[in-house]
């Protein structure tokens, strides 16, 4: 699998993403600068976490209009897999690759902790290595992770299997107590309709080794390598 990681000047989890991709695939991903207008031929595009252009406006709003995002959208339309993590989720959502919006956390504070997630749909290269309903632990680290869309869209997302992950308790309850940011119906990550694009707030790339004390993120990268190699 060949992958490209998009680097904005304020990206700060690109190193984590590169390490996770390299460990899983054995190949160093391309690093593509935000002002570039072309992408190499790749199987996966990862838009990493961070603060793109500072995010003093709505997170990801400016980055969505950067030169490289036109090319990312074109590739996504051709079916190239796109993974947006944290700020990357905000950016690809602002760019229109996913429905909805990410707002300020309900508690109005940045939150960094390890949360439990329920895998809602395993019919994608991102989640194929998990069991449906499996409870996994990923860390979150964000200030604007409050996913919102209207009730009708939530219904449609659920109906069409576009909800990838939900925040839950360690035994799988999805009541608001376990929701770190106020997201509608505890949504932590969503697919596009074809399930070729995934955006999520939590960080699978920071949970891939014994060093992290958590390997629950590893199956996501292993699954992508298996499907795209």
């Amino acid at each position: 699998m060949k992958a490209a990681v998009i680097v904005f000047p304020g990206s700060n989890r690109e190193r984590d993403a590169v390490a996770a991709l390299e460990a899983a695939s054995g190949t160093k991903p391309y690093l593509v600068w935000h002002r570039d207008t072309e992408l190499p031929k790749v199987d996966l595009i990862l838009v990493p976490g961070g603060f793109s252009y500072g995010d003093y406006l709505r997170s990801g709003a400016m980055a969505a209009h950067s030169p490289i995002m036109r090319e990312v959208k074109a590739r996504a339309d051709q079916g190239v897999r796109v993974l947006g993590v944290c700020n990357g989720f905000q950016i690809i959502t602002e760019a229109g690759l996913l429905p909805g919006a990410l707002m300020r956390n309900a508690a109005l504070k940045f939150v960094c902790r390890t949360v439990h997630l329920r895998v809602e749909n395993t019919d994608s290269p991102f989640t194929a290595k998990y069991r449906k309903g499996q409870i996994v632990r990923y860390p979150v680290a964000h200030g604007d992770g409050n996913y919102w869309t209207d009730e009708e869209t939530v219904k449609r997302l659920d109906g069409e299997g576009q909800v990838a992950f939900r925040y839950v308790s360690d035994d799988g309850r999805d009541d608001p107590l376990w929701n770190p940011n106020g997201s509608v119906t505890n949504i932590a990550g969503i697919f596009n309709a074809k399930r070729t694009v995934l955006g999520l707030m939590p960080h699978p790339e920071d949970a891939v080794s014994a060093f992290h004390g958590n390997t629950d993120g590893k199956p996501m990268f292993d699954g992508l390598v298996e499907a795209l190699s």
């Binding site: 976490g49 504070k109 940045f110």
Partner: protein, 738 residues
């Protein structure tokens, strides 16, 4: 030279700028004439306490600063130590107390920004942040607002620049009601043969300004930091700078990229006193002069005067001396990162600071007297009288409280309650190199990028000890840092000190400073733990009320493999729990005494430095042999609180048969030099034998077991109950604001 358009200088103006009459007169003497308005502004900030260390220098010089591990000690932007294999660790802790009280979010945020720049300006990529915070009483009407703003500011800055915040400490005490302390520490890694220094060299070499534009923010910030607060201090809000972490991130990447070329002669950030201190210090260290043309300084607003430009403390700016002809290489890098880049002057051989603007000369004065001949005071000081020992009967447990109630009260008091509400607002994981963060181990542990080697980091100080006995308190702060690093298995390398005290012109306060330095110096010597960088913050008083003496110690240690590090959490049922070190039952200045008996009395616990070293070396050694599952040093709250924290962190209880019949001194005394370890039962005998061979006292406390702490008869205290008490205080306190 013309002085047109500048206000007339007078003694009265000098006083307003914070200079004494004597200092003003020596300025006249050095110049042989009346200074210009711009010159007076420059001299006043250079001679401010904040920039000149005029009250503290005499005593700081007595600290040990050398050792085989030291690459660069105090005097540069940060300290540098050898981490082996050609790696260097660069670190420093610095205060931003006054600004954080006036405007907590920006004050704390720019504190983080400033300390990051001190570290990356020397060529290091920052790999971890820490902070030490002291707030007033929780009952004080301002405390909530200050906690909320400071924590959000530290997070807002550190999270955006992508440096994990891996630990820290937070205390509350009424003595900080009008003067909170915000001490921020950054640790970075560089190649030992690629360290960048600030001494300018090469007459004619270009002086380059990079980073953000200069505005009118923060003018005279250094002077504000050198005065006591009064009720109208909030009018000084315009002297607090505004931070832009995104620009800082760009500045880090651009500077590190430039440092990979050979274009740089010297580099320094523009911190306190901005362009003034950076240009004067760089030229002064190189024994050269510097000429600046301020028309070329990138400016955010129009009509700024030379005085304002020289004294602005706008953030995210650096001054660089380039090799001749490398301007375009450097310019291309800064343009890629969309940062301002301007050649604003050159080095000269006349030893003078010359400032030109609009075709006029605004400053023309010799640098050496300003940077070297700043005043140095030997302030009168009084030693702190020793506190009376407590009566022996204080060791009896009170009859009206169960052990469970006592423990619950201590683990939920503001100083001891979980600070999760704070640390969850900090990104502790970015870069994927964090092994241990707050709440998991006695020190934060990160691995060096691309390597297995680990760096352990801690910040420590027990101000209530320092107030009762500054000498003992100073030694204890250093010893605790040594212990916290040893408790994770790291070899302590060196110390950065952040000395926070009241008004040094009062002999009692100066005595606290002198005492703390003496204790620190003794401990640093005995533990081979030199001081390589530091910062002094004096005049932490409001309306004449001083803070507790707070010599905050930041320290780093080295682990050959970060995976060797051991955390505090109990991990298995049936592990043997061992107490390392001798317990005498010292209750003076203990949390037990304060929280349960309502007394802040007695001397703090004595520190036996030879024992600290012996016990620390022993614990580190057996951790590295892989014999230790969990490890926690004994500090605030004493033995039972330490075991409770290990149980809460792991969700596993303990049967403490070894504590049957113990009194309050044994259970809650704060004797130094002690650790609680959990080891696999099959290794317990070997560890005890090794301890005996090393002459280290070792006692079996019991076994990890179940979901409660059990000891002394039938009483059992569930982990769940303790955890609720420990976790509840801070979130419910903060929520009460709404």
């Amino acid at each position: 030279m013309t002085t047109a358009q500048q206000p007339e200088v007078s003694l009265e103006m000098a006083r307003e700028f914070g200079l004494s009459e004597g200092e003003y007169n020596s300025a006249l003497e050095i110049l042989g004439r009346l200074p210009t308005y711009t010159e007076l502004g420059i001299i006043s900030v250079m001679w401010s306490e904040h920039c000149s260390y005029k009250s503290s220098k005499k005593w700081l010089m007595t600290l040990p600063t050398t050792g085989p591990q030291v690459i660069c000690g105090p005097g540069e932007n940060a300290g540098v130590v050898d981490a082996g294999d050609g790696d260097a660790i660069i670190f420093k802790m610095e205060s931003h107390n006054h600004p954080s009280y006036i405007e907590p979010y920006q004050g704390a945020a720019t504190g983080v920004g400033g300390i990051l720049r001190d570290v990356f300006t020397m060529g290091a990529r920052p790999i971890a942040n820490m902070n030490a915070l002291r707030f007033g009483s929780p009952d004080h009407p301002k405390t909530r607002h200050l906690v909320s703003g400071v924590v959000a500011g530290i997070g807002g800055y550190g999270n955006c620049v992508g440096v994990p915040t891996v630990g820290g400490e937070t205390n509350f005490h009424p003595a900080y009601n009008g003067n909170i302390l915000v001490n921020a520490m950054t640790v970075g890694v560089a190649k030992a043969d690629r360290i960048f220094y600030s001494a300018a060299a090469g007459v004619g070499n270009p002086v380059v300004y990079v980073g953000s534009k200069t505005g009118r923010d923060g003018i005279h910030g250094a002077t504000m930091a050198s005065a006591e607060f009064t009720e109208d201090s909030e009018e000084k809000r315009p002297t607090v700078q505004v931070g832009d972490p995104f620009t800082e991130k760009l500045l880090i990447e651009a500077c590190l990229e430039l440092m990979e070329t050979d274009a740089i002669v010297a580099i320094q950030d523009m911190g306190a006193a901005g362009l003034t201190s950076s240009s004067v210090e760089m030229a002064g260290k190189g024994g050269l002069g510097i000429e600046l043309v301020l028309d070329d300084v990138p400016m955010r607003e129009e009509g700024m005067t030379p005085y304002e430009i020289m004294l602005s403390e706008s953030q995210e700016r650096m001054l660089i001396i380039l090799k001749p002809g490398r301007e375009e290489v450097a310019r291309a890098i800064f343009e890629k990162w969309e940062l301002d880049f301007a050649v604003i002057g050159h080095l000269t051989d006349n030893g003078k600071l010359v400032i030109k603007m609009h075709g006029q000369t605004w400053c023309d004065m010799p640098i050496a007297p300003v940077s070297n001949a700043s005043p140095l005071y030997d302030r009168p000081w009084e030693p702190t009288p020793p506190a009376a020992e407590l009566e022996e009967s204080v060791r009896a447990l009170p009859g009206d409280k169960t052990l469970g109630e006592i423990l619950e009260k201590i683990v939920s008091c503001p100083d001891q309650a979980s600070k999760r509400w704070i640390w969850e607002q900090y990104d502790s994981l970015v870069n994927g190199d964090t092994r241990f963060m707050s709440g998991q181990a006695d020190a934060g542990v990160v691995r060096l990028p691309g390597q297995t080697k680990g760096i352990a980091i801690t910040t420590d100080c027990t101000p209530r000890y320092c107030l009762a006995d500054p000498v003992r308190g100073g030694a204890q702060a250093v010893a605790e840092a040594f212990r916290n690093l040893s408790a994770v298995g790291a070899l302590p390398l060196a110390v950065t000190d952040n000395m926070n005290f009241g008004n040094p012109e009062k002999p009692r306060i100066m005595g606290q400073f002198v005492g703390a330095i003496q204790g620190m110096a003794d401990a640093c010597r005995a533990l081979d733990f030199p001081v390589v960088s530091g910062n002094v913050s004096l005049y932490n008083e409001t309306n004449g009320e001083a803070i507790l003496p707070t010599p905050a110690i930041g320290a780093v240690g080295l682990l050959p493999d970060a995976m060797m590090a051991v955390g505090i959490a109990f991990r298995n049922e049936g592990d043997t729990i061992l107490l390392i070190g001798e317990t005498k039952g010292h209750l003076g200045q203990s949390l037990y005494l304060r929280e349960i008996l309502g007394r802040e009395e007695g001397p703090p616990p004595p520190v036996d430095l030879a024992v600290e070293r012996r016990n620390g070396d022993f614990v580190r050694g057996i951790i590295r042999e892989g014999l230790v599952v969990s490890s926690h040093d004994i500090q605030d709250g004493g033995l039972l609180v330490t075991v409770a924290e290990m149980a809460m962190a792991g969700g596993i209880g303990a049967n403490l048969s070894g504590l049957d019949g113990a009194d309050a001194g044994v259970l809650f005394g704060e004797d130094q030099g002690r650790y609680v370890l959990a080891v696999r039962p099959e290794n317990a005998a070997a560890v005890q034998d090794k301890a005996k061979a090393a002459g280290v006292p070792v006692t079996v406390l019991g076994k990890t077991n179940g979901t409660a702490l059990t000891s002394r008869g039938p009483e059992s205290i569930t982990i769940d109950r303790l955890k609720k008490a420990n976790e509840a205080w801070l979130p419910s306190y903060m929520a009460a604001a709404e």
